[in-house]
């Protein structure tokens, strides 16, 4: 490597994010992802089964509590499918946030000792969340097919399912961006680490996970739609099984917010990683 040259300076421009270097460490990202999986299920009885059990049990609980006891409307969709679809996409979001929000604090011991592109850590967390999601999504699709072929419930098949990948990528990006911003701010303010769990919980209830968007009207509906996850969860359900209606305007708004937050979080992360070792 004769032309290899790295210049380390005190100040770098805000847009100097070395993505090429991140790419050079793609093996590391792969190993981080493998590690994430290996570590969760080492010394457990059910192992990877938890991955499927978790959303199934949550969806059953939601169906019983919100569907049967509270009797919330699901807009004609089978209750179990309704809660499971909302829950699955929401879990992608929340696990993207949770997986990355502790990046700096949890890796302080490694970051303080050796250099590697710091972005590899949140990226690998995001990949982990997406793989987890895909397994759960496969489960969801099975449930969906069951309702489609073996019941008379109001489940439709539409070409809108082609939009699902977009929604999934957007959710993972948004969740990771929020998590990375939290991780950058927690370097200085530890309270946010505690608050993050609470915020995420509130956020879920401000997103139509356990209720339909149609059941809310007026100003509340507009306020809900300002939450970028609202249109995503709603559209996810629509594209999968034709529940509710497709929200377009606010979806575009949500996509813009996602892109802005994604860029913002990378810039912030990049700025914080340089000296965080001195202040953690």
């Amino acid at each position: 490597m004769d032309n290899y040259e790295v210049v380390i300076k005190s100040k770098t421009k805000w847009y100097e994010v070395n993505l090429k270097e991140v790419f050079m460490y793609k093996d590391l990202i792969k190993l981080f992802v493998q590690r994430n999986f290996a570590l969760i299920y080492k010394q457990t009885i059910l192992g990877p089964l938890w991955l499927i059990l978790n959303p199934l049990v949550t969806s059953v609980v939601f169906t019983v509590v919100f569907g049967q006891f509270a009797g919330l409307s699901t807009g004609g969709m089978p209750q179990f499918l309704f809660y499971m679809s909302g829950n699955t996409i929401w879990m992608l979001f929340s696990s993207s946030v949770n997986g990355t929000s502790g990046t700096f604090l949890n890796n302080a011991h490694i970051f303080g000792k050796v250099y590697f592109p710091r972005l590899t850590v949140p990226i690998s967390q995001m990949v982990t969340s997406v793989i987890n999601f895909l397994i759960q999504f496969a489960m969801l699709v099975i449930v969906y097919f069951y309702f489609l072929f073996f019941t008379d419930e109001a489940v439709a098949f539409s070409p809108y399912f082609l939009l699902l990948p977009l929604l999934i990528i957007q959710t993972a990006l948004l969740g990771t961006a929020v998590g990375v911003i939290i991780s950058s701010v927690t370097i200085k303010y530890r309270d946010l680490a505690v608050a993050a769990g609470l915020i995420l919980q509130m956020w879920m209830y401000l997103t139509p996970v356990v209720y339909t968007l149609d059941s809310v009207s007026g100003v509340m509906r507009t306020l809900l739609l300002l939450n970028p996850m609202t249109s995503v969860v709603n559209n996810f359900r629509f594209c999968l099984a034709g529940g509710g209606e497709l929200v377009t305007g606010y979806w575009i708004y949500s996509a813009v917010i996602t892109v802005l937050l994604a860029f913002g979080s990378i810039v912030l992360y990049n700025k914080m990683e340089k000296n965080f070792v001195d202040s953690i």
Partner: protein
């Protein structure tokens, strides 16, 4: 050809004390007070604005270049800025000012075993650790055999490392770091790993890397013997600046001269302290009471008086003097009984007599430690390193002694008899 490492006017500032108030609310209050020109509610009493902004220049304008294939030692007393320099070069943190240009990949061995995970097997950890240090999977695949062989852990390679002994753990970690395919190797006293045999193996490996593989080495150490062996050039750092850059022997001489205080008395209250200390008893000053200079015949004792200040009431603490060679290799230590009993807030005079009769001719450095031991657990109260130099001269009638072969400690045999059988 351009130098492989170029460091230009490098500076690193650390802020002293607590950074911010630790909470968003607290910082906002301080910020609002600044805008409205009121007094900051988060300043403690007696803490002035100036003090709050106090900072410390760990590196203050360091410039040097290293050419390909050079092995450069970096020495300096604790707090001189060595570790900061390496942290900047390895990009763990970034400089306050100045620039570093690197024309080669860096293998950092500042902390071996970084990223090791107890749940993963040795083999998995080799891959993980190698990738963190910048190797690709195919590179590690190629070197896996060498690494396992070097680590001497073949039988355990598929066992989770949490079941390793600490020695095996370090050996495996060092093996990975030593096999990095990089042009520049940075080391911070990592050679102090494993048993003696493994240490020698590590040193040989480094020596080989420097001399035969044409790798560039930056080596930070307190162990002058290894610096001498490994390096062809030496930089001395002192208070964040380079005070010497050149020949190794000359550098060691200057360095030892710089820390080599041979005064018979001195103030210790401001001496730098390192390590995990419980600041309950502090050595304030020392004085050699039976001498006007620090040269001793080994028949006479070294008598010392310390001024000691007690910040807490402490009982049954001990005094220890560690004797090191001029290369800063520990030779031996004196340890007192549990005699130090002090009451909070009082000042004391601590006297001690050290029997030097077993030390052979030569120069030594004394360090002091006050500690408390119970059930094998040691609590250190105060520790001052490399306080003064002293010299031992031969007494009349001593056997000629070549410490190169015989070491620095004279041991006695008793009851030696020979009888015809």
């Amino acid at each position: 050809m351009k130098p492989i490492i170029e460091v230009k006017n490098l500076k690193k500032r650390y802020r002293l004390g607590v950074i911010g108030t630790g909470s968003l609310a607290g910082d906002l209050k301080s910020y609002m007070a600044k805008i409205t020109k009121k007094q900051d509610p988060n300043l403690t009493i007696e803490q002035s604005e100036r003090k709050k902004g106090d900072s410390f220049m760990a590196l203050n304008g360091v410039s040097f270049t290293v050419n390909k294939g050079e092995a450069v030692g970096v020495i300096g007393s604790n707090g001189a800025g060595k570790s900061t320099l390496l942290k900047l070069i390895t990009r763990v943190t970034s400089p306050t000012d100045g620039e570093i240009v690197l024309r080669g990949r860096i293998a950092s061995m500042l902390e071996v075993g970084t990223g090791f995970n107890g749940e993963m097997t040795g083999r998995e950890n080799i891959y993980m650790n190698g990738a963190i240090l910048g190797m690709t999977k195919s590179e590690i695949d190629r070197k896996l055999e060498d690494i396992i062989a070097f680590s001497e852990c073949r039988d355990f390679i598929d066992t989770p490392v949490k079941r390793y002994s600490s020695g095996m753990y370090v050996k495996l970690a060092f093996a990975v770091a030593a096999h990095l395919d990089s042009e520049i190797m940075i080391m911070d006293e990592v050679l102090a790993v494993g048993d003696a045999k493994f240490q020698k193996k590590c040193l040989d490996k480094m020596f080989d890397a420097a001399n035969n593989d044409g790798k560039t080495i930056l080596y930070v150490s307190h162990n002058m013997a290894t610096v001498k062996r490994l390096c062809s050039r030496c930089i001395i750092l002192n208070e964040g600046k380079i005070i010497f850059d050149g020949d190794v022997d000359r550098a060691i001489e200057i360095y030892l001269g710089a820390i080599g205080n041979s005064a018979v008395k001195g103030d210790l209250s401001q001496s730098p302290r390192f390590g995990d200390l419980k600041p309950e008893v502090k050595l304030m000053s020392y004085k050699i009471s039976n001498r006007d200079f620090t040269v001793f015949e080994n028949k006479e004792p070294l008598k010392l008086e310390f001024e000691v200040k007690a910040f807490k009431t402490v009982e049954k603490a001990r005094l220890r003097m560690i004797v090191k060679s001029p290369e800063l290799v520990p030779i031996g230590a004196f340890t007192s009984d549990e005699v130090i009993n002090v009451t909070e807030g009082e000042n004391y005079k601590l006297e001690a007599e050290f029997d030097l009769s077993n030390l052979v001719k030569g120069k030594y450095i004394a360090s002091f430690l006050i500690f408390y031991e119970k059930d094998g657990v040691i609590e250190e109260y105060d520790s001052v390193s490399d306080v003064f130099f002293f010299e031992i001269q031969e007494s009349k009638g001593d056997l000629p002694w070549n410490s190169h072969w015989l070491g620095n400690i004279r041991m006695n045999i008793s009851n030696v008899k020979i009888e015809r059988v």
